[in-house]
């Protein structure tokens, strides 16, 4: 499964793991992984350690997730992106929008 998500028992912590290609084909799964989480202050952790490609739709998805998180006063943390993905995030200036932990 390219996208696996798990929600903690208090539903305040959502871990989304993306593997292989993070592109348009993942959109539905990705959206489903967070759209049901409406608990205020939810922390969305996005594990990108096993993802190796990212296109603009992935960036768009992240922006939509950001919108959703902002709506419920939540927070996004991107974890362990590889070099090429980190470069993409840097050039898209996402480090100003969300926390990126290498």
């Amino acid at each position: 499964m390219p996208i696996v998500s798990s929600t903690s028992s208090n539903s305040k912590d959502v871990l989304i793991t993306v593997s292989d290609r993070f592109d348009f084909s993942q959109y539905k799964l990705f959206r489903e992984s967070y759209c049901e989480c409406n608990t205020p202050g939810t922390e969305f952790r996005l594990d990108l350690s096993s993802a190796n490609y990212m296109d603009s739709s992935a960036l768009g998805m992240l922006l939509l997730l950001k919108e959703h998180a902002d709506k419920i006063k939540g927070k996004i943390i991107i974890e362990r992106p590889n070099d090429s993905i980190n470069k993409v995030l840097e050039i898209a200036q996402f480090h100003h929008l969300m926390e990126i932990v290498r």
């Binding site: 348009f24 603009s56 739709s57 922006l63 993409v88 050039i91 898209a92």
Partner: protein
């Protein structure tokens, strides 16, 4: 001519060669003065040697005179020999004097010519150096204008042209482009969720249509039942049978209409599907090329900064070098002004040579006269003293003049 004279003559020629060498720039200038001094010393030495030989002759003559004083007759031979010697001396003097005079004139001419040429080329060098200097200054100032926030149109124009600015603009443009693409993706994805929502609605319409279809089927069945009941009622149910038939045909029409609606909505769903793929294409742009360009531009901006810095350093160094060259050329031009001093030295040598003329003339006169030997010798001694006195006075005058090149300021002529 004895051995000493040969040595002196050879030394003179060497000195002249050294002076010529100086004039043509093959030997350092310091040798010019040394050569001139040695030449002068040699002239004096030659003169002294001549005097010495004269004295010896006189001594011999005196001895002869003393030995023959009893007879009181001076040997005819000695008179004749002395006369010959005076003539020889006079000829040697004039010959040497002519050679030296010619050489000095030639040296003087060559010196002024060379100095003129060198002066001209130094002036050209100075001009070139000045031009270089102003160009460099203009460049440095230009760089400074670039650095400052100048509001004049010209500076703005130059600023626009600068490579650094160009790269910065490109970088900004690429950034904006990236943001636009990402926003486009985001909006496309939003549109996609709306489309998905729409597909759900359409699907629910399908289930509603299925309900309607079921109703039509049930109506059809009811109509069929009604027509069966009407047939059983016989003549009385005839009218009812017509109504039941109508209801049945209505249900069939309703079924057909239902089918048409289903077809239309299926078409709409297919359209939505193609809309979806269009939006998908819009959302997923492969940005690796853009990212590569962006990082290349960043790299180039860094390199450009380095190049600019290196260039600035080089220009500063060039400016310093240009200043140094200016000073060097100035010094060379100043040194050339001492051509005057050299010419003066040559001129004073000419004066000294003229003294030889006087001596030579006296020798000539004495040689030709019928005076006694003592009178002749006295005359020569007197002339020698006069010449020495004159030379000394000239020498005193000369010591007053400038002796080194270190004095004096740069003054371009």
């Amino acid at each position: 001519m004895n051995r000493h004279n040969v040595i002196v003559l050879v030394s003179q020629l060497v000195c002249i060669a050294v002076i010529s060498g100086c004039v043509f720039g093959q030997v350092p200038d310091g040798y010019l003065y040394l050569g001139l001094t040695v030449l002068l010393a040699l002239q004096v030495m030659q003169f002294v040697l001549h005097r010495k030989s004269l004295n010896m002759v006189f001594d011999n003559a005196n001895i002869t005179i003393e030995s023959t004083s009893s007879s009181n007759v001076v040997s005819q031979d000695i008179e004749q020999k002395l006369g010959e010697m005076f003539v020889e001396l006079e000829q040697t003097f004039s010959c040497e004097r002519q050679v030296i005079g010619n050489e000095i004139n030639r040296t003087s001419g060559l010196l002024s010519e060379a100095v003129l040429g060198m002066s001209e080329s130094f002036h050209n060098m100075k001009n070139i150096s000045d031009r270089q200097h102003s160009l460099l200054n203009a460049h440095v100032n230009h760089e400074q204008v670039d650095d400052n926030d100048n509001t004049s149109n010209k500076a703005d124009f130059e600023k626009e042209l600068s490579m650094h600015e160009f790269l910065e603009q490109s970088s900004r443009l690429t950034n904006e482009f990236v943001q636009v693409v990402i926003n486009n993706s985001k909006q496309s994805l939003k549109t996609l969720s709306h489309i998905d929502h729409m597909v759900k609605q359409v699907d629910s319409i399908f289930s509603l249509l299925q309900n309607v279809e079921g109703l039509a089927n049930r109506t059809n069945l009811l109509a069929l039942n009604a027509s069966i009941e009407a047939a059983r009622a016989g003549e009385v149910g005839r009218g009812f049978a017509v109504v039941a038939d109508e209801v049945r045909s209505l249900s069939i029409s309703s079924s057909e209409l239902n089918e048409q609606i289903r077809g239309k909505i299926s078409g709409a769903k297919a359209t939505i599907e193609s809309l979806r793929s269009g939006v998908e294409e819009m959302a997923s742009a492969d940005m690796s090329q853009t990212f590569e360009t962006q990082s290349k531009i960043n790299e180039m901006t860094g390199k450009m900064g380095l190049i600019s810095r290196n260039m600035e350093e080089s220009i500063t160094e060039l400016t310093t070098m240009s200043n140094e060259m200016d000073t060097a050329v100035g010094n060379a031009v100043r040194s050339l002004q001492f051509e005057d001093m050299t010419s003066q030295a040559l001129a004073s040598i000419s004066t000294n040579i003229e003294q030889f003329d006087a001596l030579s003339q006296q020798l000539h006169d004495v040689g030709g006269s019928n005076d006694s030997l003592f009178v002749k010798v006295d005359k020569i001694n007197a002339v020698c003293q006069a010449v020495r006195k004159h030379t000394t006075s000239i020498g005193e005058h000369r010591t007053v003049s400038q002796e080194t090149m270190d004095e004096g300021e740069i003054e371009l002529f």
